[in-house]
C-alpha cells in the first residue's frame, strides 16, 4: 500500500500541477491569447477556472503539510501504484502545459482549413429565386432583413461581428447582389499550394465553442492584377460581387479592385451573432460616432 509519506508527496505534486494549470490560464488571459482557442462565451468561464484550481491546490497543500498520517488514506482513491505509473500520469498532465508554454500561440490557418474542408457557400440557407428580398420561410427572415440593409450600402462592409450572417444573406440573394461593391477582410486561402499570385479565397474560421468545431468560410477572390500574397497573410479585399459557376454550384466571387495587406486582428475567428440586424445597427451607430 502507499504509505502516508508518498501520499503527501503525491498531494504536493498534484498541487503543483494544478497551480501550473491556473498560471497557464492566467497567462493566456493576460496575453489575450484565449481567443485563439475558444469562443468569448466560453472564455468567460475559463477565466474563472484559476479560482477553483487554486483552492484545490491549497487544500491539497494543507492536507499534505498538516494532515495527520492516519487520515491520509488511499483506500478509495486510486493513486498510481508504481513510479512508472505516476511518471506517466503526471507526464500526461504536464504535456499540454509544455506545449502551451514552448510553442507560440497561433490562430488556425490554411493548413487546418484544408483538413476541415473550406466552404465557399453558406449551406444552411437555400438560395432564393425571387427578384425582391422576400422569403416565405420564417427562419430565413433574419437573413432577408439583413440582406435589405446591406443592399442599400454603397460599399457593403462585412463586419467581423456579423461575417457569417452577412455571408449567408449575400449568398442567399446572390443574383440580386451581383455587381455590388463589397469590402471584406480575412486570411488568404488557396486550394493548392502553388504560385502565390493567383486566385484565392478571403477566409475566416467560424467558431462555436472551441477550435475543434471551427468551420472555415471563404469568399472566392479574383485578384485581377497580379499581386504577391502568401497563404495565411491577412488582407482586406474590396471589389465587385460576381456569381460564378464552380463544380456544378453557383458561388459568389469578388472581382477585386484593391487588395491591401493588414495585420492579423486580435480576434482572428468569427462567431455567430444572436441577432445580426440588431448588431448591424449598433455597429453603424458606433461607426457614425467615430466619424
Amino acid at each position: 500500500m502507499n504509505d502516508s509519506k508518498s501520499i503527501r508527496l503525491h498531494y504536493l505534486f498534484r498541487a503543483a500541477v494544478l497551480l501550473a494549470f491556473a498560471y497557464y490560464i492566467w497567462h493566456l488571459t493576460n496575453e489575450n491569447a484565449l481567443s485563439y482557442y475558444v469562443a468569448p462565451a466560453l472564455a468567460r468561464w475559463i477565466k474563472l477556472c484559476p479560482f477553483p484550481l487554486g483552492l484545490m491546490a491549497l487544500s491539497l497543500i494543507i492536507q499534505a503539510v498538516l494532515g495527520k498520517s492516519a487520515m491520509l488514506c488511499n483506500c478509495g482513491h486510486r493513486l498510481p501504484a508504481s513510479p512508472l505509473a505516476s511518471g506517466a500520469l503526471y507526464g500526461l498532465f504536464l504535456f499540454p502545459l509544455l506545449l502551451g508554454f514552448v510553442l507560440p500561440d497561433r490562430a488556425l490557418g490554411s493548413a487546418a482549413a484544408v483538413k476541415k474542408g473550406m466552404s465557399f457557400s453558406y449551406s444552411a440557407v437555400e438560395p432564393e429565386k425571387s427578384v425582391r428580398f422576400e422569403s416565405k420561410d420564417p427562419y430565413a427572415q433574419e437573413f432577408t432583413e439583413l440582406a435589405k440593409i446591406l443592399y442599400e450600402q454603397p460599399v457593403i462592409p462585412v463586419y467581423p461581428a456579423i461575417f457569417s450572417e452577412a455571408f449567408g444573406a449575400i449568398d442567399m440573394y446572390k443574383k440580386q447582389f451581383e455587381g455590388k461593391e463589397i469590402a471584406v477582410s480575412g486570411f488568404v486561402y488557396r486550394d493548392q499550394a502553388g504560385e502565390d499570385t493567383g486566385p484565392f479565397a478571403v477566409s475566416r474560421f467560424l467558431v462555436q465553442c472551441c477550435t475543434a468545431d471551427a468551420t472555415p468560410l471563404g469568399i472566392l477572390v479574383d485578384p485581377v492584377r497580379q499581386q504577391h500574397l502568401p497563404a495565411d497573410a491577412w488582407v482586406k479585399v474590396q471589389g465587385k460581387i460576381r456569381v460564378v459557376p464552380q463544380d456544378g454550384k453557383e458561388l459568389i466571387r469578388i472581382e477585386a479592385s484593391s487588395i491591401t495587406p493588414i495585420a492579423q486582428p486580435d480576434a482572428p475567428y468569427i462567431y455567430t451573432s444572436a441577432d445580426s440586424v440588431e448588431t448591424w445597427h449598433e455597429l453603424q451607430k458606433f461607426a457614425n460616432k467615430e466619424k
Partner: protein, 330 residues
C-alpha cells in the same frame, strides 16, 4: 503492490528532470523543427479542446464532491422512482434541469451511482443529458434555420435511443458493471469527513482527486482527437459517403472522431446539409454527444471494459437504425 516511497521516485525523477532541462534549453534553438504547420494545428486544436472541457470537468468534479460530502445517500435513492420505466423517464428529463456537457457529466454520474442511483438510470442520464436540454435545442434550431424538423428529429431520436438503451441495460445487466466496487468507496467515505481543515478542504481535496482521475482519460481523448483533426482529411472519408448507407456510417464516424461539444456540433453538421441525406446529419448529432473519442475514454474509466464495449455497441446500433428509420420523414 509496490510502495511509492520517495527513494523509489528519485531514480525516475532524475532522468525526467534532465529531459525537461534538455527540452527547455534546446527547444528555443530548434524552433524550426517544431515550427511546421502540423505542430501548430495540433497545438491549437489540442489546447482548444482541453480548455473547452476544463470548466465543465471542474464543475462536474466540484458537484460530485459536494454531493459526496454534503448529501446523504438516502436522499438520492428517495428521489429516483423505484420502477424501471418511470426511473428511465426521470433520467431523460434530468438533462433539462442539469444542462451539463458530457465531460462534466461522468464524474457527477459516478458519484450518483455510488450514492445509490441504479446503473440503468445513470446510463440514460449520461446518454440523454447532453442532448435533451434547452441549450442544445436552441443551438440546433439556430444552425438549421430552414429545417426545424431536424431539431425535432434530433431530440426525438435522442430520447428514443436513450430510453431503449436504458431498458435493454435494465433487462440484461444484473451484475454491477462498475469498474470499482462500491465497497472500496464506502471505506473511503467513512473517514472522508475527518480531513484537516473541515468540510470545505475536504470538498476541494475530493475535487482534485476527481480531476486527476477523470482528467487523464480526458487528456488522452483530447490528444487522440487533436491528432485526428490534424492529420485526417475530411474528404478522404467522404468516399465512404457515396454508398447508400455509407453516409450514415461516415457521419457517425466523423462525430466519433471530432468529439465536438453538443452545443456546437449542429453547426458543423449544417455544413453537410446539401452533401448528405438529412437522416445522416441527425445520426451525427445524436451519436456524437452520446459516444465520441473523449467520452469513450471516460466511460471506460467508469465501467468495466466488457460492459463499456456492450454499451458502445448498443449506442451505435440504436442510433444507426433509428436514424435510418427516421429518414423517410426528413
Amino acid at each position: 503492490m509496490t510502495a511509492l516511497s520517495p527513494m523509489k521516485i528519485i531514480p525516475l525523477l532524475l532522468p525526467a528532470a534532465l529531459l525537461i532541462i534538455l527540452v527547455v534549453m534546446w527547444l528555443p534553438e530548434y524552433q524550426g523543427l517544431l515550427n511546421n504547420e502540423y505542430v501548430h494545428t495540433f497545438k491549437t486544436g489540442f489546447i482548444g479542446i482541453l480548455l473547452e472541457a476544463l470548466p465543465f470537468i471542474l464543475a462536474g468534479a466540484l458537484l460530485s464532491s459536494l454531493l459526496q460530502v454534503f448529501v446523504p445517500d438516502e436522499v438520492i435513492s428517495r428521489w429516483i422512482p423505484k420502477r424501471a420505466i418511470p426511473g428511465i423517464l426521470f433520467a431523460c428529463v434530468l438533462g433539462i434541469v442539469f444542462p451539463v456537457c458530457e465531460c462534466g457529466m461522468i464524474p457527477l454520474v459516478r458519484r450518483l451511482i455510488q450514492k445509490g442511483m441504479p446503473v440503468y438510470v445513470a446510463i440514460v442520464f449520461i446518454l440523454s443529458g447532453p442532448i435533451l436540454n434547452p441549450v442544445v435545442y436552441g443551438a440546433t434550431f439556430m444552425a438549421f434555420r430552414n429545417h426545424p424538423e431536424l431539431a425535432y428529429a434530433r431530440m426525438g431520436l435522442a430520447f428514443a435511443a436513450a430510453f431503449l438503451i436504458g431498458l435493454i441495460v435494465y433487462c440484461t445487466v444484473k451484475k454491477s458493471p462498475m469498474r470499482w466496487s462500491a465497497q472500496r468507496e464506502m471505506g473511503d467515505m467513512a473517514h472522508s469527513h475527518a480531513v484537516r481543515g473541515g468540510r470545505l478542504t475536504s470538498v476541494f481535496v475530493h475535487t482534485s482527486e476527481e480531476f486527476f482521475e477523470m482528467g487523464k482519460y480526458l487528456l488522452i481523448g483530447c490528444l487522440l482527437t487533436a491528432a485526428l483533426q490534424t492529420f485526417m482529411v475530411r474528404d478522404s472519408l467522404a468516399a465512404v459517403g457515396g454508398q447508400p448507407l455509407g453516409s450514415y456510417l461516415f457521419m457517425m464516424g466523423l462525430a466519433f472522431a471530432l468529439s465536438l461539444c453538443s452545443t456546437s456540433d449542429a453547426f458543423v453538421a449544417s455544413t453537410f446539409l446539401h452533401t448528405f441525406p438529412a437522416g445522416s446529419l441527425v445520426a451525427f448529432m445524436v451519436f456524437g454527444p452520446m459516444l465520441d473519442f473523449k467520452n469513450a475514454m471516460m466511460l471506460m474509466a467508469l465501467f468495466k471494459t466488457k460492459f463499456a464495449l456492450y454499451l458502445f455497441f448498443l449506442i451505435f446500433a440504436c442510433v444507426f437504425i433509428g436514424s435510418v428509420l427516421l429518414s423517410p420523414w426528413l
